[in-house]
Amino acid sequence: MKKHLPAILTGAGLLILWQIIAMCINAAYILPSPTQIAVKIWELRDPLFTVHTPATMLVTLLGLLISVVLGVGLAVIMEKFETVERALYPVIVTTQTIPVTAIAPLFVLWLGYGIWSKVLVSVLITFFPITISLHDGLKSTKRENEELLRTMGMSSAAIFIKLKFPAALPSFFSAIKMAIPLSILGAAMGEWLGAQSGLGYFSKRMMTQLDGAGVFAPVVVLAVCAMLVVAVISAIERKLITWRKEI
């Protein structure tokens, strides 16, 4: 608790400042106060938590799963085959220069208003940090470690399983922690551009009604969801990787 005290105090200070400014402006459609947002979340709890949050979380989960499979696959292949690395690495970097918000409407055109257009936005944003971080992690093993295992008679596959993969786990967890907020952001962004449910869609609908607190309410829910999932992943990481500082 003592460790988190500076962050809690800073957060509380900012909320108080926000409350004061909002009260001074006194126009909830421009800047709702934190208390107004909290009240709005409570009022809208039914649609927010039973319809829209599960819809966004489904897109996030699917996006994250596909990104992990794609990212891990690409990282492993690029680590194994230098030619593939030289061919794919610039392409992967180029995908990140594409303005997703600009092309996301195309995804709606191609895949419709269902969840897959949003999943695609989420994947496009999320797979990059997973691929690059894991690839760097796999590449980071020292040559002398690899050579020692070779003198023991280990094959390349055994070296991957016993050395490279465990050594890359800290990078993998860092990538996942980075990818979760991005995945949620991607899902919400997709929903904002065209959807029938989800927190992004809900936020946009509140916007058309000039309901400032209603716009913020799903944003707060999104942020809390991201923090909770990252906290769970961090707890798993702490349990699994007790040796991070020793490599």
């Binding site: 023991m152 008679g153 016993k162 465990p166 050594a167 020793e246």
Partner: protein, 260 residues
């Protein structure tokens, strides 16, 4: 038949524009305990890299137990300069690592590793992580990891400056410990070292590498030196001074060659 036979071996690293070894020939007989000394960068560790097939592009012939290094992968057990213990494995699992490529059951692997840890006096550290051990203890774990390979039929023990990263007091105690271990092993041992006293104390023969490229190896019999006290005998002191002087001359030549 010698266990290791180099015949006219010529080798240089691709990235270097000079040769390290040129037409080098030597033999290591079974049960020899050889210490290899020479100036930094003269090619001592490269000999091990050639023997363990980590370097394959050389001219000449290398024979390990009558086979080429490519076909002799089960002959040498290698202990590197750094312990290279895996931080995500506990001590016991670090020692079982080389056994995991062998067709033996998990319980057998654990049994062998426990015996090796007992041999190096670390039975009570099985469940600890490498970070919980001192430098000397980590080196002993590294030795246990090498030892299990010898117990599984490898005949040649290659030690690449195993104590160079330790402080002087720990090194002295580890040297005395290693002498006991090596004498018990009944294996052929080659150990690279920078320390002349260590070379005299541990080896029965010293291979002195000089020149660049190394064209021949001077072989010095030190089988008369059995314990640390023998290092202070007049003939040992004389030999040590000769070796140190050879080292200094070599280093001066090397500095001249590199323009320092």
């Amino acid at each position: 038949m010698p266990l290791v036979q180099f015949t006219d071996v010529t080798f240089g690293y691709k990235e270097d524009d000079y040769l390290l070894l040129e037409n080098l020939s030597f033999a290591v007989q079974k049960n020899d305990i050889i210490t290899v000394i020479g100036a930094s960068g003269c090619g001592k560790s490269t000999l091990f890299r050639l023997m363990t097939c980590l370097e394959k592009e050389y001219k000449g012939s290398i024979s390990i137990n009558g086979k080429s290094p490519e076909n002799a992968s089960g002959t040498a057990a290698f202990m590197p300069q750094k312990d290279l213990l895996m931080p995500w494995r506990n001590i016991l699992k670090n020692v079982t690592l080389p056994l995991e490529v062998l067709p033996i059951s998990k319980s057998e692997r654990i049994g062998i590793a426990k015996e090796a840890l007992s041999k190096v006096g670390l039975s009570d550290c099985e469940k600890k992580r490498p970070s919980e051990l001192s430098g000397g203890m980590r080196q002993r774990v590294s030795f246990a990891r090498t030892l299990v390979q010898l117990w599984q039929g490898r005949e040649l023990l290659l030690l690449d400056e195993p104590f160079s990263a330790l402080d002087s007091l720990t090194r002295i105690s580890m040297q005395d410990w290693l002498i006991g271990q090596v004498n018990d092993l009944n294996a052929t041992v080659m150990m690279v070292t920078h320390d002349v006293e260590e070379a005299m104390l541990i080896g029965n023969k010293i291979f002195l590498l000089t020149g660049r490229p190394v064209k021949e190896i001077s072989i010095i019999d030190v089988s008369g030196i059995k314990c640390r006290d023998d290092l202070y005998l007049p003939q040992s002191v004389k030999l040590k001074n000769q070796l140190v002087s050879a080292f200094l001359t070599e280093n001066a030549d090397k500095a001249e060659r590199s323009g320092v």
